[in-house]
């Protein structure tokens, strides 16, 4: 499943870059994060609970930053395991300066295997879309907070 979009932040590109590359701030932007550990600059893990039906889907996710070209491009790979689902995701974002601040073009290729994957896109796509919307709004807050500080 591929999801992509653009978003404009009212902040300088350097500020947006800092937020996107700060695992601690990203953890606050990700929905459902219950715990978060940073191993080094390019590796971190998170335990998340994705609101999926009754009780939610708990998943342990390992992140790895696989490529970066400061301050315009980064690619992060994530692999997660949970009961009934195995998730893998590659997400990339491109930052460009814009008149009103910074324009971010992003894309993510999400693969879900296991019984949850069998629910198919018609069930998962709305959930993913909702999660992305929540994440982007939270990210906006983090960017504003960083710009203000």
């Amino acid at each position: 499943m591929k999801v992509e979009g653009t978003r404009t932040f009212a902040a300088p590109r350097e500020t947006v870059w800092e937020v996107l590359n700060d695992p601690a701030r990203m953890a606050k932007a990700m929905p459902g994060v219950e715990s978060f550990d940073v191993q080094d600059d390019t590796h971190w893990t998170a335990n998340v609970k994705i609101p999926l039906g009754l009780g939610g889907l708990s998943m342990s996710i390992e992140f790895e930053k696989t490529e970066e070209r400061r301050p315009e491009f980064a690619e992060i790979s994530a692999k997660g395991d949970g009961v009934g689902a195995i998730m893998s995701m590659v997400t990339a974002f491109h930052l460009a300066e814009a008149a009103e601040g910074t324009k971010m073009k992003w894309e993510a290729e999400v693969k879900i295997a296991g019984p949850v994957g069998s629910m198919g896109q018609r069930v998962l796509q709305p959930i993913v879309n909702q999660q992305v919307t929540n994440a982007l709004s939270a990210l906006d807050e983090q960017v504003q907070e960083a710009a203000a500080s």
């Binding site: 195995i86 693969k111 879900i112 295997a113 994957g117 069998s118 198919g120």
Partner: protein, 824 residues
Amino acid sequence: MTETQTQTRTQPLVVEREETKPGFVGQNVPRKEDKRLVQGEGVFFDDVKRHGMGYVHFVRSPYAHAKIKSIDLTKAMELGGVYGTLTGDEVAILTDPFFELSVKPGADIRDYALAVGRVRHVGEPVAAVVASSRELARDAADLVEVDYEPLPVLTTAAEALKDETILHDDAGSNVVWQGVFDWGDWEGAKAEADHVVTIERLHFDRFSSTPLECAGALVEYNRGTGQWTMYCNHQMPGIGAIWMAPALRTGIDKLRFVTQDIGGAFGNKICLHPQFVALCLLARKLKRPVQWTEWRTDQHTANAHGNERTFLDVEVAVRADGTLLGFNCRALDDCGAFPRYEPLGCIIWAQVTPGCYRWRNIRVDFTQVCTNKSPVSPNRGYSRMQHLWLTERIIDIVAHELELDPVEVRKRNYVRTEDMPYETPNGCVYDSGDYARGLDLALELIGYEQLEEKRRDAEERGRLLGFGIGSTLDSGTNNFGQSTLLNPELQFSGNNEVATVKLDIFGEIVVTLGTVPQGQGHETTAAQVVSDILACSPDDVTVRPGHDTYWNSNAGFSGTYASQFAVTGLGAVKGAADMLASQIKRVAAGVFGATEDDVELAEGQARLKANAEAAIPFMGIGAIVNANNAILPMDVRDVTLNCRYVYVPPFQLPDFERKFGNLTLTYASQVHVCLVEIDPETGVYDIVDYAAVDDCGKRIHPQIVEGQVHGATAQALGAATTEIFAYDDEGNLLTPNFYDYHVPHALDMPPMQNGYLESPSPFTPLGAKGMGEGGGAGIHAVCAALQDALKSRGKPVVWRSCNPYHQVWQYLQEPPRGLEVSGR
């Protein structure tokens, strides 16, 4: 021969071609099985329990294609109540790969009971966990940690054919089998034709029957004798043993299959050997009985599907008057991750090569490939259904395109009753039938004369009405020699089935069957045949329920499959009963000092024809032979009253070079017609009227036949409208349960009227034909009706077999064509 006809709208329309004889055959006697089933007293494998048994849960792959890097069982084994485990690595050491039927490259595929090193479809068993309860085994299976490395996924046959990703490295190609079937003179037919219609693509979707009872077995291992006993629902133990015994490095005498009641099988309980071998290994390893009961989701995901087949570049040679001269196409068959029963599907379709029609020039370039989907297995209508869908689609697409009447095109081209027995271009022999008469009956039942009036009425209501026909054949009683057309090294040919009939000390008449009934009423129909021969009541005949390979007699092809019980099973029963009747007469003749010809059987007695009062009841005959035989004359002391008969159909070995020969013994025919109404705004449609006419020769028990026709119709309508195994690009099955995979409920069934013709088979002991599978006539009828309804909306080609509402909506939005007509 007389013809009688009765009809009401509530009773089936019946045309019998011979006088009804007195006796129980042909009567709707009460079914022997029903009392225990209706009262909930049936015994299914899951009802059988053993002291100390363990419950098995399979750890299944979440990936469609991946390397297995490691399996860690530690956490599962630490759970209290877990008895043990099994992995693919153990299986690879303890067993040999299953026997493959194909020639190379398919012959080199290595298929084991559990995945070894690599998984090739979602749901493939990777390991097994055994615990003290079913729930605990399932929980423990979740604790098994498998590290996978995902690999590229093949979800279409076209992608697989490129061989850019290879599923089975040992084979070196995804192609299982490839061959060209060329009968008659296709090029000559093309040159002679007034029109050549080319259809770019037709696709038969993946679906399967879904038995009420999922698969499973309770397996015990006897360490003293090295024998396994499987209380199970395997529907074809003979073939199961042929696969299992060499893999387990043992003889088939060490494998005992026991069934009583089976909750439906439809073919997908033929290929249970991988799971059963895993169970045998576990029972031996853990020194305790183990039971596996398949979960419904696993049945959908990883038991077995029906073959998915694409027909490409279909060319049809037609004369201007609608005479069909022949067709040519490429067929691409997707058999999923492992061939198993395949590539038999690459030849089984050839039993019905020309469908119901007289075209003589047919060329099919057939290729079967593996993909990362569930393996396939025979599924009710196995392989012929796909091919018959092709021939029926051709008829309607060509008729629409050339503005010919589909009814007239059919009648012009049907094999005629006066041509029976009719040899097809590939050497099969259609035994009897009257397809045109069947169509007339169906048209009569549905009120075809008022079609245009109904069409106008629907238009006034804003609906599009369509009429469709599906005329199909149910070929029954396989000649297993057809397997040699795929692989000349295979040592299979002919067919056989066995039954025993005995008379016991107190006069009990006991029948055992080689067949493995799954709800088809074998106990009832066998009793009807025996009681007519022995001149007693079916109530006096006990037919042992189910099957036990230790105690029932077996032939190599024993089982219930391929629409053959009425021929092979009842042929064996008739043979054994005839033997017993003769022995009873000989005993009576010996006692009376008469000859066998002087004795007749009547009212449960053997008596002198000349003096009905000189009679010995069967009880007396049984007592004399079994317990008082010193009174018998010496020349009848060979009588045992325990008669075994093996029925062997009169087959020859087919010709490998020409791919020519008689592949099945009987051809039941079906003509289904339907009316659909489509809402053009949404694509939602209803089947508003339906009629089915069946001709399976002599009907032993008309009510059972009618039940089979209803079941086959429901199966076909599900396949036509909602039942589809859809996969996403990652190889996830998107319809793994009854929520997403909708099987027709009683309320989904349209109003249906039934009619019957009886054209007795000249080739079978009772004039009966196999008929249990149907031919998918409902799929063809619905496709044709949709095509007819949509002709005013851009004349779309209905190119898929399964057409849910959203598919019809797509036809309405962008009518697919993919069609060319060249002509002179």
